[in-house]
Symmetry: C2
Subunit: 436 residues, 2 copies
């Protein structure tokens, strides 16, 4: 007979409801595949009256989280309420009670992962978090187990579906950022307050987790350079398109010499780049490893079913181990790569830049711009000036060669004070495909 593992589920929001439904509706299939019976023992939510589109069996629900945390029958505690507190407290108490924890809480992992991992290790408990990055894409398992023989030098992710949807729609439909945002809200792809998504915070939480698994680097949220989408205009999308690029919201972890770059910002990608064709709300994670070379993992990064499937895969792993009397089989994260000594300061990164200057169109302007850039060791790969309207404000678009971030900053500080520069210059970094 298969052993029975009891699960307590905290949070019946979108994902929690999906998890409850799968555990109930696919229980026989899951038992066959796991080799153990997984029972949804108790479910906790503050508001149990809300309709969730399906009926929980009677007697399963409570509004008191401690009915889960203190129930000795429950071996796996699933946290799906999100946010830092009280999720942190509940998880820590569950771990101290010897429960194994499954969570999708990327914000909590990014802010307090260190503490959670320590307590889990002391308690000999498992802490699984497949649903925290990439929704239904099993990227955590891939990084921790499947690619175990690899050392990585690059992880690039389109990990925020809302941001990718906005930039995709701006390109496809030629609409403004605000029009795209309004559309995303109508479709339920953006929150009423979209800041977490469009300003890069959500992506930075996911990047912190990827950096931990890929490089063993415990980065604080403040260690990650973040830029959101609000500065990207339709004009930039179009100019990028004409130059053979698209603009994608990237989370970047990249080893350069003995330093690790961690940054989240809209990025120009050549249309031939693997990530350039990841559109709409889809996510994808590009990885380059010393053994496997380039890989891409693509799928739905959010939504009830994909995310619930990821949570259930964690429950399955922990339940399978528990039914055989073992836990803590998989190290929580990699040890810090011996090849990485520190995080790279943002001023030190080097990339090619897309620069859009808004200038009064008169003779000598180009020479003045080029002069400032040259004095800051920024060399120009190409210049594009489509519109010519005497004495009007026109865009001048330049692509630079590889230049140092701090030099570009200094140059733009000078340029944005020139009398013929009429708006703040837009600078977008590019990401080149790897040489094979």
């Amino acid at each position: 007979m298969n052993q029975t593992i009891h699960v307590g589920l905290l949070g019946l929001g979108t994902v929690g409801t999906g998890v409850a439904r799968v555990l109930l509706e696919k229980s026989r299939l899951l038992e066959q595949r796991i080799g153990a019976r997984v029972i949804l023992h108790r479910v906790c939510d503050r508001d149990l009256r809300r309709s969730r589109g399906f009926r929980l069996p009677a007697g399963l629900s409570t509004t008191d989280p401690y009915k889960l945390i203190q129930d000795p029958q429950i071996k796996i505690f699933v946290e799906l309420i999100g946010g830092i507190e009280p999720a942190r407290t509940f998880i820590l108490e569950a771990l101290r009670q010897g429960k194994h924890v499954v969570t999708a809480n990327k914000a909590l992992l990014a802010h307090a992962g260190h503490e959670l991992f320590d307590v889990a290790t002391q308690a000999g408990a498992d802490l699984y978090f497949e649903a925290s990055v990439g929704g239904g894409i099993p990227i955590i398992k891939v990084l921790r187990e499947g690619l175990i023989a690899n050392d990585f030098d690059t992880i690039l992710g389109i990990v925020n579906g809302t941001s990718n949807y906005l930039l995709t729609r701006m390109r496809e439909a030629g609409i403004s950022f605000h029009e795209a945002l309004a559309e995303a809200k109508r479709h339920g792809y953006a929150e009423r307050d979209p800041s977490l998504d469009i300003d890069g915070h959500d992506a930075s939480h996911k990047l912190a987790i990827l950096a931990l698994l890929g490089f063993g680097i415990q980065a604080r949220p403040s260690d990650i350079h973040i830029e959101g989408l609000r500065t990207i205009s339709q004009a930039d999308i179009q100019y990028a398109e004409e130059l053979g690029y698209c603009v994608k919201p990237l989370a970047i972890a990249k080893q350069v010499n003995h330093e690790l770059e961690l940054r989240v910002h809209p990025t120009l990608l050549a249309k031939t780049h693997l990530l350039a064709n990841v559109n709409g709300v889809y996510n994808a994670i590009y990885i380059h490893g010393d053994m496997v070379g380039s890989m891409l993992f693509y799928g739905r990064g959010a939504g009830q079913n994909p995310t619930a499937a990821a949570v259930v895969s964690d429950i399955a792993d922990v339940a399978r181990h528990l039914s055989r009397g073992v836990s803590s089989l998989i190290p929580l994260h990699r040890r810090q790569s011996h090849r990485i000594l520190r995080l790279r300061r943002m001023g030190d990164i080097e990339t090619r830049y897309y620069l859009r200057f808004m200038v009064t169109d008169r003779p000598g302007v180009l020479a003045r711009l080029a002069g400032v850039l040259g004095r800051h060791q920024i060399s120009i790969a190409s210049v594009h000036q489509k519109e010519r309207r005497a004495a009007r404000i026109v865009p001048v678009v330049m692509m630079s060669h590889e230049a140092k971030e701090s030099h570009v900053h200094q140059a733009l500080r000078v340029i944005d004070h020139l009398e013929f520069v009429k708006q703040r210059t837009v600078a977008i970094r590019t990401e080149a495909p790897r040489a094979k």
Copy 2:
């Protein structure tokens, strides 16, 4: 102290050499990540004098496989000699000796998987085979573990790098099949006898494994319809291109009603299809599941390092389990999906067809072709006749609507006997992107 797990490695070819090197050169990293010491205890190859670019420690090598199979210290037996026999015999004996087995042998799994799984189950031993499909892409782990909550309806794979390279080069360079093949041989992407790759056998072995993991269907190689690349001409590549398609070598497992289609053949894909941009020697596997929707896993499908990395990830899993005193944690494959009753007969499949007729260009030809197709319930979506040369042989290209394979066969049998049809008609199936 970490436990020590001894590994015996049979076969020092390209992949075996890569595995030996990783186990020796990354031993400390692997120990940290696995939580157990993995020791390369003994290596067996018929020819130990061949240079392999690195030096094995003294005393490790033997030419006698039974020095591995009968060594009680060896817990994990890695088979990398390929082919059916003697690999089958060695694996069966190792399993019966209570050893756990890691193999990359897709031909053996496709032909004798049933027997190997039975013996492994009886012996309580593990049989892992991550390297058998998709090289460095951890698709086996993804299907068995990461996507455990999913039921699939479609798995499409570009799983033979040689075939993909040939079709990619034909499109990019405008060269013939034979020119592309000669080039692939020069680059080491094709064997001297390339039949296993270009005639679809290798892909069918991999498809059998994917069908087992994705649908629980144990298909014999003879159950899979196979067509190779030799019939694809430069003309077809160009016409496809003009119609918005590319030709890709696909392995297809698709549930339709209660039947499963299993087939390997060159396929027309719309250029917007996720698999359309998988080029060169790269592999990719597209999966559609009820929970996650569409996913794509992309990477190097062959080569020493990617394949060795996959083998080592299997060794890592088994070693980690053994060090904790457990094995057989992961079911060898899925039980047969309750939604699939049988394999679909090839004559029953329905797809859109690309048809290229080579006809004498004279009035009435189109009407005759259309008449035969119509009588066989094949309706035409579009007709393309580029070249007009009176009384010469010209191509007429048609795209059909969805039509039944058996009807197309019958119609072409009639058409290929018409007096104005001068060559055997080329028919290529298409694969449409899934509706979301």
